[in-house]
């Protein structure tokens, strides 16, 4: 059991596990929506006093901020599992495509070529991480949710607006993958 859990999980186990997270939150009288925490942190930093229209009160969402703290701890625990750091099985086609973008596949969860301080300190690195982060924050606030709120909870609850949002996620994802990343990563 422990051996199974500490290895990478098959998709048909992972999906229901995400659904279980949603179930725990629903039965606690809450909702599964991670990007709300970005607004909560803004609220903590005093944006509420500055922008009268901003109604988010982080004190009412303390539970969600604790959930965020837990997710950081969970990431830490998972990489200390006995079988952690097994090379991921990435499709050969993706490996070939990424090699053309100067991102050699190294078997880790995140490419070492990009996820390091030296790369972040370059103009391209700043654009990728700070720029990408900005789009995540702006987009999720504008759309009123991210993957957890729209793709998982919204679609599970048969909400048309969530389907529109998820279609948007894919339009954006495809544009970034095929048009922006080749520019940012400097295609060979």
């Amino acid at each position: 059991m422990l051996e199974f859990l500490s290895k990478p999980w098959p998709w048909y186990f992972s999906g229901p596990a995400i659904s279980a997270v949603m179930a725990i939150l629903i039965f606690s009288g809450k909702t599964f929506g991670f990007s709300a925490n970005l607004s909560n942190i803004c609220s903590m930093m005093g944006v509420r006093k500055q922008v009268p229209g901003f109604k988010v009160d982080w004190k009412k969402q303390r539970w969600n901020l604790w959930f965020l703290v837990g997710s950081v701890i969970g990431g830490f625990i998972a990489v200390h599992f006995p079988n952690a750091h097994q090379p991921i099985a990435l499709s050969a086609a993706t490996q070939a495509d990424l090699a053309k973008l100067n991102v050699p596949f190294d078997g880790r969860l995140e490419p070492a070529a990009l996820f390091n301080w030296n790369y972040l300190a370059t103009g391209r690195g700043l654009l990728l991480f700070v720029g990408g982060g900005f789009l995540i924050g702006f987009g999720t606030r504008y759309a009123g949710g991210c993957t957890s709120g729209h793709a998982i909870t919204g679609l599970s609850n048969l909400q048309w607006p969530s389907l529109i949002a998820v279609i948007g996620f894919f339009i954006g994802g495809l544009v970034a993958t095929h048009l922006l990343l080749p520019l940012i990563l400097n295609q060979k």
């Binding site: 990007s35 942190i41 837990g70 701890i73 990435l90 995540i136 924050g137 987009g139 759309a143 544009v175």
Partner: protein
Amino acid sequence: MKTIKFILTGIFFGIVMTQSEAVSWYRIQEMFRFQSFIMYGIIGTAVLTGMVLIALIKRLRMRDSQGQPIHFPDKDRRWKKYLAGGTIFGLGWAMTGACPGPVFVLLGQGYGVMLAVIAGALAGTYVCVLLGDRLPQ
């Protein structure tokens, strides 16, 4: 006590996101290039089981742990903000390989550069709040 419950749920979420490899920049690239079924399998089975769960909660009029009826408020019917906001988020998702949850899970895994993504995300949220209703809804 309640605090501990939400921290534990978050820990479980962090482990799920890591073990499923949904936090991986490579996996997100594979998804947006339609070169593997894995991410679609994860999201698909999460939504299918979620649909059954929510339908059951509604049908059986289940209550939460406090004994309160469980409500699922409908999202408002405007579409521009969902399409435009969703597209903007999608750009950031593919660039960083992470949506908001995984950004923090990866920080816990020791990827310090995620602090830059978090700083950017807070700035983006702030600018969106400032623009408010001036954005097409």
